[in-house]
Symmetry: C2
Subunit: 178 residues, 2 copies
Amino acid sequence: MPLDPSFNESVPQGDNVSRKVCDHCGFVAYVNPKIVVGSVVRSGEKVLLCRRAIEPRKGFWTIPAGYLELAETPEAGAKREAREEACANLNISGLLAVYTIAHLSQVQIFYRATFAEPEIAAGEESLEVGLFGWDEIPWEDIAFPSVKWALDHERSVHLGKATAPFANPDGETGGLSE
Amino acid sequence: MPLDPSFNESVPQGDNVSRKVCDHCGFVAYVNPKIVVGSVVRSGEKVLLCRRAIEPRKGFWTIPAGYLELAETPEAGAKREAREEACANLNISGLLAVYTIAHLSQVQIFYRATFAEPEIAAGEESLEVGLFGWDEIPWEDIAFPSVKWALDHERSVHLGKATAPFANPDGETGGLSE
């Protein structure tokens, strides 16, 4: 029967930052910022959105995105997330934006993409998926601020008004209450 | 006296990927890709290089770069690394490149930067630091392939021949033997 992990803060040898070290086994739980990868997938004048079947923000709409896995390129991760969440096969067009959600220790790397095949369907983590024109996007029910940023930034590039990549809009940190 | 950590592979509840789980305490050692942040710092026609005082690649030249810390933006991390390695205060100009070193599970986010103050000096992790014109760069003694990519890409932008950001050069994965 495993013991409960019990971590206390201390500075490991050769380090200069306090880390969580397990009392039982001495394991140093280095906690690193996490990388979220995803894409704004465009088909003509419409973009792909997925309604979340899981917390956080279950029932709200998002672009396909999730944590990058080990030994995976961000482009491959963005394609995998679209497969998992929308049963979609993508072509990645290029980098759209790098956003930072510092309070979550997340760096989000989002790409522009198109469909390699036209079929989409709700994956396990989605209640439904769909293609939306700009005026059809359910803006009140978007899951996270950075999804709005990505949709807005992608549209600027699509309309020829800007060149990727973007970073956080001025002064915004990605909190839901902003 | 802490036990030695003893990890075995298993799929935690609610997950779909095998992770390392400690036999002693049940701790799930989620291993995530790591984010390296850094910058090509330009002063006129010269760029900042640091000779590494630590392994790997001790004695070889690099740009200031290192692991992003928790709750730190990549821009702030790039500035911190330049302070630590070259005692330099930077202004970040913009994103230069996002590289993937998949076999190391690293995503590298590099910025273009200038000096906020002209002083530089070797920090604890550097044997020496210096400013180098393009023809003065010690190309045979550059620490990592992605340092060459970043120097090359930054020069293209500096000369007006390209617009940032860049990704890995075609077919390159960042291995030292390439």
